[in-house]
Every structure is written in structure tokens, then in C-alpha cells.
Subunit: 243 residues, 2 copies
């Protein structure tokens, strides 16, 4: 391990060109920054991409929970601060605070699993045990992700085939792209009227270029459940609370 | 005008999380940075979003031409340097050089038109005449974009309906999303075998959330022409030279 840096902070300026129709940072671009900042911190701690490669391992995002009072707006400077809440030999829990100046506008919880690059199955990370010393006692005041249950009733379904621009470094569908497919189930007018108070996604399987999926949506009042399902079962499950 | 800064440079570190299946910066993310760096320079010159709003105008990307020897690779530091080649009362030509250390890996040419925010038609920018003094004598050694002609024969067509995540700050389809739809016409294996030596796109009309389009592809050897066509005609035309 390179150095014990318990917190890592990255400041961003939100350019107009990156905004969505609500003139805010899109949730997809926000999640991308969450992953980038996590990667930066892991690099600093010596367990980033290069550090993990030594063991033929790679971090894979398993769960992501975002709770925002509001999103950063056009031309606003915002910061993401990340720390490790918990590290054990199976996974790592990493939290984030989102601020604009002194104002805390949201929190994020993530769970990362190390997978073996060849077998794509969870790897043993006990040799990184010293990372436990990077655990921070800082609190993340949002609820942990609950268990995501299979949809009992489906209100609507859309089919989609993943394409080349959906694919990441590991030749699987990029984590962000699933979020995009989920959010695309509502149109621009819906996002004018409602904001996303809480967003949860649990990744269960990997999809590839050409994978054909059903995107199933079930909505009860302001809570929507979305599952993306391939031929071999559920790929990810998501829950959105609109306000 | 705030200050005469004839060149603007922005350095980036390419994180693994941002890479595509070829472990390089995707062309879409590259184009997004081109737009971001142009916006930063315009802001410095006082003719960014806020500066233009005073006249009820906004810059819209009209043409984009990218010629790369190679793309930035994972964990590589690269820089975009931009300057104005030509400024007149109808449009502005802005060029970019892309470097990794001392190595020049590519060039970009862009043409920007100022449109009236209400009518969405080209606006008069003669009051920005002093911007002409920011013109740089620096050369951009790639060919200007040629005229993009209608496809005479179509090899294949795909239909697509633009969704909420495709929409930008101005409530139109994001310029990057058209590039994505064009690139998605080839699968991952194609991009393993061929790299994009030159990419050109000319934006002709704006599309909205819900706009249904035909994506028409015609390919002769290593040159492909793609047009995205809505009910009211061509939305954009693109030409790709594979190598």
C-alpha cells in the first residue's frame, strides 16, 4: 500500500455542455464521476487498476445507492469526497459526500467486489488486509441498499440489444449504460416534474455487446422498480424514488 | 471581451473507467472533451454561455472533423490545445491539437454557429467582431471537412427513437449522441480490427426526445457514410475512414 490517505476529494466545475434537459448534472455522468473518484482513491492507496492487476484481480461495482437533495447545476462547482467505510476479504464499502461550497447536497454508498480477471468470479482479497487500516469512522447518513426483490408484476417492457458504445475496458457493458437504460424508461417531461430522490442499482451479472435484454418496469406511486433481464437471468435491478 | 488568450490547453488523465473495449478513449468521450475545451476557451474570452446569453445567442456545433494517428490509451495523460482559426459574423472555426507528452497524436477542426435561443436560427454575431483579434496563425494540418452528399445507395438502415438521456441543456439531442448512434453501426470486433483514421460529422437540424430517425449506412471499402434522417429530412451526416 502506497500511503494511508483516508479521504480523497475531487472538485468539478459543471459545464453547460454536460448538463441534461433540467440544466443539471445527469445522474449517469454523476455515477461516472463516483466511479472515477473511487478509482483515483484506490490508485492513491495502491489498489487501483495496476495494483490489482498484480493479483489478476479487478474491482467491479456491485451496488450503487445515490441520495440527493438536489443535483449540481450548470456552472456550479461541486466536490466529491470519498472514504472507505468497511473493508473485508469479500468486498469493500465506499461512501461519498457531495458538496457545493459548504452545502451538502447528497450522499452515495457503493459496494465493490474484486473479481478474478480470467474466471470473472469473486476473488480473494485477503492479501489487501492492510487496507482495513484505511477504514474511516466518518458516517454516511443514508440508508444502506435494501434487498432488491424480483418484480412480481411488470407494467411495461422494452427490448434492447447492447451496442459497441455500451462496452467498457473489460469488454462488458459499462456500469453507467445500465443506469442510462433504466432512466430512459421515462421521458424528459417526467424529469421536469419529478426529481430522483434516491436511486439504487445492484449489478448481478455481466452483459456483452450483442446481449439482448428485456427492461421491465413496475411502478407504484413514486417508487419504480426496473430489472434488466437477459437470457441467463437478471443482469441488474434498480429502484428509483421520485419526488 | 475579457482578455486575449489565443490558446487554451487542458490536460486530462485517461482513467480505465472511461475506456472502451479497445482500452482507449472512446471517440464519443473525446468529442465531449473537444466541446468542453472549446467552451472553456470561449468562457475565458467572455463569449461563453453567459457572455452569449446577453445577446440571446448560443454557440452550436455545426461541423466536427477528427483525424487521429491514435487515441489516448488507459492511464495516459493527454492534452487538448485549442485556438480560433477564423472568426466572421456568421461562424467561427476552432482547431485543436491533441498531444501525449511531446507526441502529436491528432488534430480536430470544428465550426460553430451562433443561433438565436428563441428562433433557433443563425444569429448575427457582428457585435463580437473584436473576437477576430483572437485569430491565431497556428496551422491545423488536416483537411477541412468536405461537402457531405446525400447517400445514393443505402446498405443498411436502423430505426431509433431518441430518449431522455440523449437530451442536452437546450432540450435538443446532445451532439455526442448522434456520434454514438453512428459508431454503434459497427460491433466491437470491427473496432478491434480497424481504427478510425478520420471522422467527420455535419449537423443540419435539431432532434428532440421522442424524435424517430432512420440511421442509414453506406460503406465502400474503408469509407462509410452514415446519415441520420428524421421526418423533416436529414438531421446529420457523417463520414468515417477506417484503417
Amino acid at each position: 500500500m502506497s500511503e494511508i490517505v483516508k479521504e480523497h476529494r475531487h472538485e468539478y466545475l459543471l459545464s453547460v455542455a454536460e448538463c441534461n434537459a433540467q440544466q443539471e448534472l445527469p445522474l449517469t455522468a454523476f455515477a461516472q464521476r463516483v466511479i472515477a473518484v473511487a478509482t483515483e482513491h484506490a490508485d492513491i492507496l495502491g489498489c487501483g487498476y495496476t495494483g490489482m492487476m498484480k493479483y489478476n484481480l479487478a474491482w467491479v461495482l456491485s451496488r450503487l445507492t445515490i441520495e440527493m437533495k438536489r443535483m449540481p447545476r450548470a456552472n456550479e462547482q461541486f466536490a466529491l469526497t470519498t472514504w472507505i467505510e468497511n473493508f473485508n476479504r469479500h468486498y469493500s464499502e465506499r461512501d461519498f459526500e457531495v458538496t457545493v461550497g459548504d452545502e451538502v447536497i447528497g450522499y452515495v454508498r457503493t459496494i465493490w467486489v474484486a473479481i478474478n480477471m480470467e474466471t470473472r468470479s469473486p476473488g480473494d482479497i485477503s492479501m489487501l488486509a492492510e487496507l482495513a487500516s484505511t477504514e474511516h469512522d466518518r458516517l454516511c447518513p443514508i440508508e444502506k441498499q435494501g434487498r432488491m426483490r424480483p418484480l412480481t408484476a411488470v407494467d411495461r417492457t422494452e427490448q434492447y440489444v447492447f451496442r459497441s458504445c455500451d462496452i467498457d475496458f473489460n469488454r462488458h457493458v459499462n456500469s453507467i449504460r445500465y443506469i442510462e437504460k433504466v432512466l430512459n424508461q421515462w421521458d424528459v417531461e417526467h424529469y421536469d416534474a419529478y426529481r430522483i430522490a434516491r436511486f439504487e442499482i445492484a449489478y448481478q451479472q455481466e452483459a456483452h455487446c450483442g446481449t439482448c435484454v428485456d427492461i421491465n418496469v413496475a411502478q407504484v406511486e413514486n417508487v419504480a422498480d426496473v430489472e434488466i433481464k437477459g437470457q441467463n437471468g437478471v443482469i441488474c435491478r434498480s429502484k428509483i424514488t421520485f419526488k
